[in-house]
Symmetry: C2
Subunit: 340 residues, 2 copies
């Protein structure tokens, strides 16, 4: 049994100006004078008393639960991660809880603050809008280990698993270029998200490397959902009907683009080749099946689970970074041939 | 402040044969003789002392968290439910935690038992293999309200949201019959699951009602995943090449069947019409887009969230049952025309 951090029954009693027995009665929910209850609760709050820390001491501060906070439960990239995270943790005796934050920074910070109450022993999170200074502060204040999937600011003291979406975009554009495509459009997600920003830069770099000119008419920005992909594809086709390929910042956007091309009577890949990103389950559900850049979602999930488990089992150590390399899965939406 | 249920610091002290101050020291994690720590922990365990009940009393027993235990995070039917459950609870100030139990009964019971430790204020669950006697006992012992989405044994004292998949199968077979199909195959899920059993019975009833003979060659049973649907479709096509329609027990099975029909060069719906069930997001991603029986996943999720919220806010009352009626969403896999 280790010495408790922070306030105890004794310091609460002192601050509230009541006896230790009174604090104990309040904590046990026994009938107590209202004024005493109020004073004890105010003192506990003032002292930043974290209720569960009492409870946790009874079983060595373990809840046997771990949480994964994902940006959007509707995006199968997180599903692929969950499928890998869950068995790793389950084998070690941990139950996995999931949060869907809708990429809302306030929600993410709320989950991080919740770690102070120790309803889980650790957290894996994937903040779509990046790790802000508030995140960094909340991670430092958390009383449980945290692993971030995604980019973090240089030097942030947290375990981190990331991929290299620049190389991923490059793989896709090299593939389209090798197939003879020269008017390669780009349907991106919001530029204020980490993947959106990185992929925008990567698209320009890849064009440069291939000696293709950058043409603003060939670029459209929307959100990361299917209907945004459809909207963006319609706008781009209207403006640049000679487009012969569409690079999409994720698979959902690509599905929206496929819908629009089909309704417009444009053949895929005959008229327009389409490439998605994330290589989710949906890529093989779509028809034509979708060529997609794999950013190793399964590998990233597995690596994050292992980093967390290591911290849970072996305690504090220097933060680690794992980088998962991208690859390209070629299917019918670029070659006309379904490999499966 | 209400009177605590169950054991308190006082009863633990009595059983352990130590002073109340000693129990308090142990609960606070202060340095204490090893023998005393051991005696207090054993007494606490013997008395079924639930650690967090102490903590909870500090803030009126609310965690502001609610959990949804779903059978399979990979099945978009649960995604549709989460999308409706989350906003209802969020608006009332609750954070939603998700569990994916893989339809494992032991996991489901574990989640129910976890309610005794009060890491959430309430639970919505969707047990794919049905509500067993163990579930009923665990629900009764839970110290938090529970809502079950799915069938429960008659008279189980729990809030319940269900659909009517028999009518759903009937809608699909009526539609196929009206289109002139007479050799209607059935790709079902496991018969020991609640939906599998109900849909098997419904298929026979619907054939009877339409005056079509039951033919065992036209029925194949697998699991509820896409690869099972593919396997089942291959087996059925091999045995009954004259099949002119496939009723599938969920959308994932139907997607597997579409893959197999495409590779076999069988036109959909020209040669074989295909109907799915659950009307998930995938139905409109597939090509041809999939006609599917909607079992009101979104409505069921919303109803479950509201029932739970009512119990959380207004306390105990008689259990309620909500039945959501099915409907049929007609798309290209039966008519050749995509309505969207």
């Amino acid at each position: 049994m280790s010495v408790a951090e922070g306030p105890t029954i004794n310091t609460i009693a002192e601050r509230a100006g009541v006896s230790i027995a009174s604090v104990s009665r309040v904590l046990n929910g026994l009938p107590t004078r209202e004024e005493t209850v109020r004073r004890v609760l105010r003192a506990a709050e003032d002292l930043g008393y974290v209720p569960n820390s009492v409870a946790r001491s009874l079983r060595n501060r373990r809840t046997d639960q771990v949480a994964f906070a994902m940006a959007d439960i509707g995006n199968p990239v997180y599903l692929a991660m969950v499928r890998e995270i869950q068995p790793v943790l389950k084998a070690a005796g941990y139950r996995l809880l999931l949060h869907s934050t809708d990429a809302d920074v306030a929600d993410e910070l709320d989950v991080l603050r919740g770690l102070r109450e120790r309803y889980v022993d650790g957290l894996i999170m994937s903040p779509l809008r990046g790790v802000t200074e508030d995140h960094v502060a909340a991670i430092a204040a958390a009383r449980a280990p945290v692993v971030v999937i995604g980019s973090v600011p240089e030097g942030t003291p947290v375990d981190n698993v990331r991929t290299d979406s620049r190389t991923g975009v490059r793989l896709a554009l090299d593939h389209l270029h090798a197939l003879g495509r020269r008017r390669i459009g780009f349907l991106n997600g919001p530029l204020d998200t980490v993947p959106g920003g990185a992929r925008a830069a990567a698209y320009r770099e890849a064009l440069d490397a291939l000696g293709l000119p950058y043409d603003g008419d060939l670029v459209e920005v929307g959100d990361f959902y299917r209907q945004d992909g459809a909207r963006a594809a319609r706008a781009l086709l209207g403006r640049a009907p000679d487009v012969d390929a569409l690079m999409c910042a994720n698979d959902l956007i690509a599905l929206g683009a496929l819908d629009v091309l089909r309704r417009a009577g444009r053949e895929v890949p005959g008229d327009v080749a389409v490439v998605g990103m994330d290589d989710t389950d949906l890529a093989s559900v779509a028809w034509p099946t979708l060529t997609s850049v794999s950013l190793g979602s399964a590998e990233r999930g597995r690596a994050a689970a292992r980093l967390l488990l290591d911290r849970l089992e072996n305690g504090p150590r220097e933060p680690r970074v794992v980088v998962v390399e991208p690859s390209l899965t070629v299917r019918a939406s670029t070659t006309g041939v379904d490999p499966e």
